[in-house]
Symmetry: C2
Subunit: 264 residues, 2 copies
DNA sequence: CTTGATCCCGACGCTACGTCATAGTTTTAA
DNA sequence: TTAAAACTATGACGTAGCGTCGGGATCAAG
């Protein structure tokens, strides 16, 4: 038989036969006078074996040894089958995990490049469409935060978001944010001070609910990245106000931490 | 940030960053004086996006367009997610099918390179251990038959095997087979004739149960292969007897087919 | 000043073949 | 009989997502 016949009867391509030859899975048959390969029935059987084992999921590199094992008297490939089965089970679990995440993303209408947990939290921010139409800088910050925050910090964030609704602060914060965005690069000092103080006043009830320990932790690489992302398209005045607001928050936190340790 | 820092914070390797650059998924950042890449927070975010989408199962080649899609205002990647989900579901089904076959093989203790259906049928041949310790030529013939037989022929084979037990012919056939195997290459004519006739006599009740149509079908490539496999290590006398037995069976079949058509 | 860690770039390796490209051979239709 | 169609052979590149050398330059620390 010539390659094409073997290929047809075995349900593979001629290229596949050559590939099996190259891997040593199929012995090179005798050649006819013109140099064509001349296959025997045993060769066809061997092709079928290789094809079958490959279709079960064995990598071709292992098919050779498995066939050798099966060719020994009273042999069975139970061990190899067990191993393969476990491997397949692992792959299935992996794929199912991916599908599970996809289902969650769809249900919560979260962008697929955001972690589900983080997306769920932000979805609860009333009146804010940050997930639906984020500006590039927002996107960067969101992505960094979502991937770099620790579980503890995510829980804290969840608390904050819940408090936003609870304290009915959302509208006020949006208004403040709009004023920050509108701030001119050369805004005079009084305007900056006013914005900083009003922001701190508005945030006061929220700050009360924070766990001071989560805000006084040492700076991490993640923090620097987030800072960079947040400041990316801010003008100097905006950066100044932003920095002063956070300094104010940290000052409050430090004071509270000292009160706590003094009380103990 | 330098590549190593980005890699660490994003949970990838430096090589992966370079790979994303090569695919155009990650823009080449500015270089410092020494030629090192100088990444920004936005770059880190981009790496995280790529990593996330890839972990969901998107091929990197598609990740680029999906991110572009998400970057448009009010966009969602619902379509891409649907498609990916279907793809994952297909892969899972495929893997489960493989596991199902493996489970069947183990349950029936069938060699993994034999089709389950065929193995089950042969397991029912009482007193024959052909599956447990086949000779090379047997293996070839079994494999070819199992892969080349049509569904109809497999059903016929099932009938034959059932009849073997039913008619209590197994021991007689094994005895005949032993005599065929022991036949010398120069066995005299009387010995051959005796073996042929005894075989046909023993097989008679079995032949009665066959469906003549399945035995008189035109020769196929599969038949030639099977013949070659079966004759591979037979000596001339054995081939002769073997051929005459099958000629005898065919003669009986033809006679029956004629009787049937005459009766109609 | 040497050593170890990092950086750059280029290139091969892995899986299971598909797909040219080039050249000779066999089969078939005109 | 001849020319086109179909096969066969070898060699080699392409695919997906990086891992892993190899060679050369840079940087931080002892």
């Amino acid at each position: 038989m010539r390659s094409n016949e073997v290929a047809k009867v075995a349900g593979v391509t001629v290229r596949t036969l050559r590939h099996y030859h190259q891997l040593g899975l199929l012995p090179e048959p005798a050649r006819t006078a013109n140099g064509y390969r001349d296959y025997s029935a045993a060769d066809v059987a061997r092709v079928l074996r290789v094809k079958r084992l490959a279709s079960l999921g064995f990598p071709l590199a292992r098919v050779g040894e498995i066939m050798a094992e099966l060719d020994e008297p009273h042999a069975s490939a139970t061990g190899a089958l067990d191993e393969l089965d476990r491997e397949l089970a692992l792959q299935i679990e992996h794929l199912q995990e991916q599908r599970r995440i996809i289902a969650e993303l769809r249900e919560a209408q979260i962008d697929p490049d955001l972690p589900v947990r983080f997306g769920r939290i932000l979805r609860n921010v009333a009146g804010v469409d940050i997930l639906d139409n984020p500006r590039p800088a927002d996107r960067t910050a969101l992505l960094l935060a979502s991937h770099l925050y620790t579980e503890e910090e995510l829980q804290e964030l969840e608390t904050v978001v819940a408090s936003l609704a609870d304290l009915d602060l959302a509208d006020d914060l949006i208004a403040l944010n709009d004023r920050l965005e509108a701030l001119a690069a050369n805004a005079p000092e009084p305007e900056r001070t006013a914005l900083v103080e009003e922001s701190l006043a508005t945030l006061a009830p929220l700050i009360d609910r924070f766990d001071a320990r989560n805000w006084l932790r040492p700076d991490t690489a993640a923090d620097h990245l987030l800072d960079e992302a947040a400041n990316e398209d801010l003008n100097p005045a905006q950066q100044d106000v932003y920095d002063r607001i956070f300094e104010g928050i940290e000052a409050i936190m430090r004071r509270r931490a000292e009160e706590v340790s003094a009380a103990e």
